[in-house]
Symmetry: C2
Subunit: 141 residues, 2 copies
Amino acid sequence: MSADLGELVDRCRAGGLRRTKALEVLLGTLLKADRPVTLAKLEKSRPLASQCDKATIYRLLHRLTDAGIVRRLGLHERAAYFALVLPGQHRDYLICTECGTIAPIDAPCPVHELEEEIRQDTGYRNLYHELEFFGTCPKCA
Amino acid sequence: MSADLGELVDRCRAGGLRRTKALEVLLGTLLKADRPVTLAKLEKSRPLASQCDKATIYRLLHRLTDAGIVRRLGLHERAAYFALVLPGQHRDYLICTECGTIAPIDAPCPVHELEEEIRQDTGYRNLYHELEFFGTCPKCA
DNA sequence: GTAATTGCAAATACTTTGCCACGTA
DNA sequence: TACGTGGCAAAGTATTTGCAATTAC
């Protein structure tokens, strides 16, 4: 994992970021978390919290996102998205990361088997999934 | 589609909601949208905008979510989630809708073929996807 | 008649930015 | 030295709630 951190820092440097204490601690925290985290969570996690301000974390996350080292999950508007749940109908979506257009995908969803596996392996109830594809649409490219 | 609307209203009634003008117009708007929409969008869409206040839309969306007629997309905290993008590594997640726990899934992701299809069919660039499973974890069940 | 629903407005919560001091290259 | 970066605090934007009036059942 230490090697990973070094590699990450290298990628940051290559992306034009400076090597700062805050950057290293943030990367280390993200690496250790090994799953998506919120800004709020990061603000509270040691040793990051004692190292820097939340504005710093915020700005670092954005620089890292621009550099392709971090990804912001979900539909990228700052607002919550709601959709009808229609019985017998499952939809996946294709979203343009530039213009934000959301289009339903017709293709049958290839995830049901895995969902069944997970249901059996983990004991989770009321399982469902969301699958979104992101990219730059032809118009925006 | 008119039939769908009637059916939706029935499900709402069964879920304990009252049949109001705002409810009908909101359902009609969601049905017509045929994809996830934000509260902000709904506030601006006719004829919904002229029919009711944004607080009403907000509360209706939540009642509908509780009744299982609408689903709120994404990781359900009110905050943005960030995750490291590690080269050669793609991760899907399993999230408990009750306690919010997020766990990475080990299983190989079954979506790559579909992603390739979409790349070719749509001409989207820089395509990637997010796949999340949601359910109630054994602890919370 | 009773309880759910609505509108308006105020309160929260999370995000984003300005400005000047500081540290990296 | 020059310019990206950091801290602090204030502003911005989306969400959430209180309460009295209204409406569905």
